[in-house]
């Protein structure tokens, strides 16, 4: 069926197979490979995107369910030049190692800071516990989000 949605601010109108997941649609049909797929059963959060501003697992959504919705991926959160303050904080604080979970973590942290601009370390941990990272032990991811929040204050 033909679906219409907005991806990173651009209108998209496509014939989409009804069984196509949003993550496959973004990665394979639109070439937005910054959204990663880590488990395909909604636990790891590597595929986290924003749907109408709220974080969602792109592996658990069908693309056709996003009819009329505004989807934002890591590409949509990245400035044309340079990095966003959150991305810069992940870089500076070494909040990543292999980088596979990183786009999902940054999308999740973006949502957290939109809802709670000055989170405590415990609040950051609570929010980030939605996603898995296998490399960092989370310590420096928590520091990165705290630093980004502090930089905005």
């Amino acid at each position: 069926m033909v679906s219409r949605l907005t991806v990173n601010g651009e209108p998209v109108e496509r014939e989409i197979d009804v069984r196509r997941s949003l993550s496959d649609f973004l990665r394979e049909d639109l070439g937005l490979t910054g959204t990663h797929v880590g488990c395909e059963h909604g636990v790891c959060g590597a595929c986290t995107v924003l749907v109408d501003g709220q974080s969602a697992r792109a592996c658990l959504l069908l693309a056709v369910q996003c009819e009329g919705a505004a989807v934002t991926t890591i590409e949509g959160l990245t400035p044309a030049e340079g990095l966003s303050p959150l991305q810069e904080a992940f870089r500076a604080c070494h909040g990543l190692q292999c980088g596979f979970c990183t786009p999902g973590m940054i999308v999740l942290a973006h949502e957290l800071l939109a809802l709670n601009p000055a989170p405590t370390a415990d609040e950051i941990r609570e929010a980030l516990s939605a996603n898995l990272c296998m490399c960092t032990g989370y310590v420096m991811i928590v520091r990165a989000v705290a630093q980004a929040a502090a930089a905005r204050a």
């Binding site: 910054g34 059963h41 790891c44 980088g99 596979f100 786009p103 032990g137």
Partner: protein, 791 residues
Amino acid sequence: MSWVGRAIPLKEAARLVAGRGRFLDDLAPGRLLHAAMLRSPHAHARIVALDVSAAAALPGVTAVLTGAEAARLSRPIRPLIPTAVPVHDWCLAVDRARYVGEPVAAVAAVDRATAEDAVDLIRVEWEPLPAAVDAEAGARGEAPLLYPDLGTNVLWHDTLTYGDVDGGFARADGVLQERFEFSRYASTPLETFGCIAAWDAGTDAYTFWTNDQRPGLTMAILAESLGVPQPRIQLTCPDIGGGFGNKRRPAYLLVCALLARRAGRPVKYVEDRRENLSALMQAAGGVMDLALAYRVDGTLLALSIRDVTDEGKNLISPAQHNLIKLGNIANGYRIPAVRYEAWSVLTNKCPSGANRGIGKPFMCFAMERAMALLARRLGLDPAELRLRNYVTAAEMPYTTPPGAAYDSGDYPATLRAALERFDYAGRRREQAAARASGRLLGIGIATSVEPAGTNLASYEIITGRRAASGSAEAAMVRVEPDGRVRAALGDPPSGQGYETVVAQIVADELGLSPEQVDVARGFDSASTPWLYLSGNYSNKFSVTDTGAVVGAARRVREKLLRIAAHRLEADAADLELRDGAVGVRGMPARVLTLRELARTAYADVLGLPPGEEPGLEARHAHQNPLARPMDAERRVPSQLVFANAAHVCLVEVDPGTGGVKILAYVVVHDCGRELNPLIVEGMVHGSTAHGIGAALLEAFRYDAEGQLLTSTFMDYLKPTALDIPDIDVGRLEHPSPFTPLGAKGVGEGGAIPGPAAVANAVEDALSAHGVTVRALPITPEQVWRWLERTP
């Protein structure tokens, strides 16, 4: 000031935080097909009949491959450690499946969904067979046989005795005997394993893209199994989304290659998470019987270990989990006599294989649990017992009975620094006060040696003959014609930041900044120098790879100096590299930039010194100097350079839920000179988190029929940000005299003592309940059962 040693952020980060990394599944060569695999639902079953006709007829399906066809079209996969009686193992199961999830057929189709639809149409008639799930039963010869031709499930059984073990036990005041179990678990990189194969009909050559961590060995297997000369195998690794040893499966590359050849189009296969958890690689589980002879003052006299390893269907590297334990069997302690009885036993489970620390976490768990129990028995503080037994700094270098050479370090100082950082005395008071108010607080200590750089000569202990040996790696440094510098390494990183660290090393050698050095992403066999030993494994970067990079950079440096000396008419000894140029010391005007020197080297070659070869590129391979062959007493340094660490943690057990919460966690470690302290600290956090996961959460559980009960992240639990505390890291730096930059391994560190530290803390918290921790993970259910038993 040198760049090595500075805590600079990852060069790689700029692309990775923006989602601009290039991981395997991001690659899509033209006309790409997608593969899916039919996998065994049984732990052990005979394939009576296999009918792929309906799958092959499905629109969109281009090629189908069965095990029987794979056995006709390819040769068996060559093992790293061969079995005594050769056992043929192809890329797909041929007549029998031997674990749940073993691939038996594969389909290539226009997309993954169609390929999976086709797999559903394959009809298999199975004859289920009794499954071997208990390694000890296999050791006793009481389990169903996986390979009747072998006549046993035991792949290796041997007893190695070093020193006067019987005398040590005879002289002892007492003997601590205990049995420990270790679960199967895995580091489960967030990116699953994947590969793409393409075949060129005109040249009968194959191109592979993969996140396989060990390209040198894998390419040898590919060439041999596909029956083509090695020059016709090209292998490329893009960004790799975590590895930890798990990412190796030449069989999947072979499946894609055979499908690609049949279809005449490139074929991609990427595991889904269930396939990853059930069939890629799990750390071997097992049981260990430990006997420790001691004097009443706590002095250790002898150690005897019987270690039964549950290999699963591991025909690639059987007994590796046993053998590697010889590297840390005595941990940091002066134990003059050691006996090690090894059993490596096949079972109908996922193949075991490399997983962060491979074997060493279990060895350290048993030894450090034993130290905790012995301290309690002798009424000694567990820190004091350790301090009485450590190999001291004055004894370095120290050779352990099995032949491991501890190169440097101050183990007592590491523990003392950790105790101080933790405020051990203060926390003990806090613990006593909390206990008085009914809270269950416990303090755990575990310390470890962390070996790095596997010496492959050690496999001779198992096989009786030497095939590969040593630990080596290759690198390339090149000043391009525009004066910019490029470097490449035969070890594809999977999150360790090599693009940054290699740039730091090269920058120091050539008088540049790391931003001026481009380090190749991943690996490409066509442009990266490599060895059979090349790869991302055994913690070898700091102790082996660095030598390759330093060596290549120095060759380029010397050539730059020779060319500059000739052109500047100066003595090379009077020249220095600074700010992207070579100049005469103290004479700022007499200088040539790298761009000018590169122009001479590549274009204006008549300006070269007489006899100098054009070009500005050098390759270098380095082997760690500590590797030696096995000696007549079967001693061998199985691993080469030793870092060390002390973990001290405080936990609270909730008697209501059985949950364990880590309230404080201190690590003090010594990995010699830290090449980039930011990367090092991140690795310590991450590896410690793996240890905590193994201690409290993670286990691959199989039922009596060999069915895997934990095959998703809903039931195989990984630690989240709420499970890992804010790990506090302190450091000592005792440089290794045996590595080019004084660095030691740090990648496995926390994963080795972490499980023991948490277990010791939980046992301490439950000391009033008479609990002895003998197995992991310590789940809430387990704690609840302990507390129920002793109200």
